[in-house]
Amino acid sequence: MKRIIPALFIMILPILFYGCWDRREISDLGLVVGAAVDQAELAGKTGVEITLQVANPVVMTAGQGAAAGGGGTGVISGMVPFWTISETGETIRSAISKTNYRIPRHLFWGHNRVIIYGDKAARSGLVPFLDRITRGIESRDNNFIAVSKGDAGKILELESPAFQSTALALNSIFLDKDGWQGILAVDLADFEYRLGTGITSPLAPVVEVIPQTSALFKEKQAGLINTVAITGLAAFDPDGRLVDYFNERESMGLLWVMNRVKNREMTIPHFAGGIEEHISLRQVNAKSKMDVSIGDDGLPVFEIKTQARFDVMEHFGASRGLSDVSVIYDLEKMAASQMINEIEAAVKRSQQINTDVFGLGEEVQRQLRREWPQYKEHWREIYPIVNVTIECETRIRDRQLAVEPPGSRTEGAGQ
């Protein structure tokens, strides 16, 4: 008996090893890589229209594709690696559950990368549209969010032979190009943090469908002449309603102040003997801080101090100059004034549309804790009229591998 019972137990145990109770083969899954959410009209009421871009794992797994298609390229002929589906509903979830009638796949949200909101949904207030994504167990708070001018669904429906999936293309832009020029990647946690403060305005990058600058003949024939691009930033009010857009220049100013600049290039004019030439500089590091004090009129006064270092990337001209230190000093001053201009433009714009995108209110809260309660209630009235001074300090670190442009004459050396 002492041996029989353990023996029986061991014989029963393998039954548990099947382990396929809730199994889900990868070919049964529809991997959502991007979601677009729009506001829709549902029998006179406002509802949600959701468009999902879904990866087809069968096509993407090279081995299976080769076996089935026989071509060895990894793509089954006639099958597309990404497809889209669109549904409407009262809530995002109800729209998604409606898709079950039409697709034979289990939608899996774990690989979702980008959520794009339509202009209309954003203007009506994004808060209701955010809940499902934060609540969901499969979706993550480090999803990127973006706003599209016009219908968000159009972005995902755009066919893009080169990148296959527009959502993944956008994801790559956000991952690699965050902090380049006016591109700011905003993830859900970031957006929600700003919403939570109640005074700072959330931001989201703007995505647009624009014409490709160059298309292959085949693409032109197929009518595939458009692509997606990031064009500026959308500023929301603290309640999550889209107010207005920042253009590229204003976005760039914003990034300096937010300390999010990673790889910024700017082109500044350079006068050599009365001829206007241009020099491109690339930022190597930049740091910005805000000081708050109380002005004479009792309102807070802000002082934005930005420091940046640059490399010379290109001198587009034939005159001498970069070997001369005084020319370099001039460049530094020009770069600083251009930075000031950009930041000023951003400040002006944000005050004009009354969105505290810099987090100035939070800065008051942190630096002037005692005085903050008196501004707290009226911050939205105060913000457009506060005084902001900007100071920029720039340095040029190196000029890469050339001192002067090739062929520039030595005559001007004595300057």
């Binding site: 993550r140 708070d141 946690a189 939570g196 942190r366």
Partner: protein, 366 residues
Amino acid sequence: MEPGKISERQLAFLMVTVLITTAIFWAPQLACRAVEQDAWITAHMASVWGILSVLVIIALARRYPGLTLIEYLPLILGKPLGKIFGALYIFWFLSQGAVIILQFAYFLNITLMPNTPTAVFMVTVIALCFYALRSGLEVWARVNEILLFIAVLTIVAVIVLPFDNMDFSRLLPLADHSPGQLIYTSTNSASWRGEVIIAGMFIPALASFRHTPRNLIISVVLVGFIVAAVEISAVAVFGGVLTGQKEFPFFSLARMISIARIFDRLEVLIVITLLLGTFFKICAFLYCSTLGAAQVFGFKDYQFLLLPLSVLMLALANNFFRGIPDMTDFLTHVFPGTALFSAELVIPLFLYLIAIFRPLKQVKES
């Protein structure tokens, strides 16, 4: 009654496991909901309450050496009242255990296996605890000694790894809430820290007692630091308001980890911590209730009570809450009352005060 002996280190390790386990999952949400970015301050304030509990239980243990909390209750309060309080303590141990089981089961239900019936998790974990307790206190205390490192290591990993997303200026302004508000919120976190009172059931099983007061205080403070670190990390990543809006800030924190796109999706780490920690925590409370029950009713052995009491704990767990909203509500409003302000601090404190005024000799005679 307890034949096994544990070392002082084992007790300290066991206390760290008990104090840290469910607290890091629930305290950040509750604390951030109340005081936002100042949550970490309340975690340290809770340590003060915890140290008070330690001092009281140590003072009692010094006065009645070799006896457990349940055993000296009748000596202090007189026999009938002492037994009634003993029975209440047993119920408290059981209900605490039931809440812990539920916290474990609900967590797995929400995060990993939504389609599995909650009962499956509850039965599995209690069966495991039953098995462990059958092997005796020495055994599981030693296992805990080995496994605590893994749990603490994973916790530290989850705290540190989201460094990419952290912005520490979100912790400012510092101490923006009134001291009263902070103290009020700290009682919640302290209700977890005060669970150190169950050390009163383990002290007689110690091989030596010399360093135990110091050890327990260090455990409490250390746990305070870890909980505070979780809260600091969560607030730096999500901000105070958003942390309070998350069901499991610690879990959401782990989901934010993405280093160089290689270290991704590390929330499994959390489940390791949860599994290890909850197992020992339930073991500790189940042990306390069985040992206590045997002592209240004067049995010579406690092992035979294990089965009925673990079934009772399971039954309690099954009927305790209707769902997770109920539980969060309980933890916010009721928990400090049932824990810190009764079983964990106030009752032991009164016991000690009465014990001081009762001459020791007389008590021993009766």
